[in-house]
Symmetry: C2
Subunit: 270 residues, 2 copies
């Protein structure tokens, strides 16, 4: 018996507002689902900066929860249950249903252009984020990543409501948009986690130091030191980004080097 | 079509270990569900401190996600969808599926005694927590609350797996254990949130100050000042608890008082 079913108020044939007709049709095509209540998808495509119409904020709560749970189910059902530790499942869930990945999904499917909004600053931020994704750069959590993820979650929630809260059906419809799913085999850790794990394994201390802003002008530069020795640096217009890029560069260098007897690092000679 | 189904490795008739037979039977009775694979419930009832057998840690991840999502669905389906704001849904979810409430559920149904464990310190903490719940005291997040919530989540996950990952069926089986469900009508905010909201509404500043520990011996005492005026204090063996109790006491007093013209508080005369 179904206890979670589409509320009567939403289970209706409704057309979108004239200004959203094209966007709704375009997104229906992207997700491969034809809505009965097109107002629901319109709501999923409305940013809070657009006044006078319900925004995606409510749907986002439902979509976030549905995608998180679907991904959790996926790893419990698809894989040999005993294979994963608690930490690994948590990591896989965050890699697949976390904001950063969902933001990448939004970029891959070009969803932002269909978002009804009134937020010129956000447009600039999303443009930068999109370029970074296309260039395969390491991403960091940010306001624009959150908005991009929110769109994916809200659209998922709208489909989930139309599918009568059937999570299996939502997953069948939505997984192709998320593909490729990160698995333990292709999951790379966050650079700072990797750096931390590398140093712990080799009994080393590391430090990521930000250079004083007045020395670096309008950019943040971070340097990685391992046991006091400079290893690599990274730069970004955000402090967090600089730290992440520095860590990534450091991990790359450390993986190509070997620890020699005196404890210092040396480049490996092929 | 079901895509999330019980993994073959778990879909078996299995008896519990001899030492867990009674506990498994007792918990089956509490939750009103007779397990096919009793090893699954045994795993849900095994704390990580008990070595030599799989602990509930993996199940807890699944149960946490399932209960969170079920509660989210519940508020989307049962209520008039437009009635809730994003903040209210988030608050209701945390009030019902958050660790503190699930810990209360564990206490109400006496689940801790069936947990296979090797953790004498935890036993003491749980005893204190249980007394506090029985006395209707305001609770704060703690290690023991987390363990108690973990048991509820793990047992929920074990049932969910046996029910072939059917969230509707899990909710029908599990909701009676969670009842009464907090709704907007009976939901009291956390005392610190209430104090904050009260002060914002009345244009007042508040401060919660901890007294120096050397003055108060082995107990933490916190005092609440509103616009510099002492309102109430609270004590606990934990700093966090002292702050919460002080805030609660302050809210009680403030609600019984009226703001008089000069901006100070005065006790209301009936």
């Amino acid at each position: 018996m179904k206890v979670f079913t589409t509320p009567t108020s939403l289970d209706r044939v409704l057309e979108p507002s004239p200004d959203m007709k094209e966007s709704v049709m375009a997104v229906e095509k992207i997700v491969g689902y034809n809505f009965k209540n097109k107002k629901l998808l319109e709501e999923a495509l409305t940013h809070p900066s657009f006044t006078g119409s319900a925004s995606y904020q409510r749907l986002e709560v439902l979509g976030d929860s549905a995608l998180n749970h679907a991904v959790t189910n996926y790893f419990f059902c698809m894989a040999d249950y005993q294979k994963f530790t608690q930490g690994q499942i948590t990591k896989l869930r965050s890699a697949n249903a976390g904001n950063l990945n969902l933001a990448r999904v939004a970029v891959r499917h070009g969803l932002y252009r269909y978002l009804r909004r009134n937020a010129p600053d956000l447009d600039d931020q999303v443009r930068e984020f999109t370029e970074a994704v296309i260039n395969g750069e390491e991403m960091v959590e940010s306001e624009e990543a959150k908005v991009l993820a929110d769109i994916v979650e809200s659209v998922a929630a709208a489909i989930y409501i139309e599918l009568n809260f059937d999570l299996d059906k939502l997953w069948m419809k939505f997984k192709p948009l998320l593909d490729p799913i990160f698995t333990l085999e292709n999951l790379h850790d966050h650079p700072k986690t990797e750096l931390n794990e590398f140093c712990q394994k080799n009994g080393k201390d590391y430090e990521i130091k930000l250079r004083p802003r007045h020395e670096t002008r309008n950019v943040s530069i971070a340097d990685v030191y391992v046991d006091g020795e400079f290893i690599a640096s990274g730069s970004s217009n955000k402090k967090k980004g600089a730290r992440v890029y520095a860590a990534k560069e450091a991990v790359n260098k450390l993986c190509q080097s070997v620890v020699v007897d005196d404890g210092s690092f040396q480049e490996e000679v092929a």
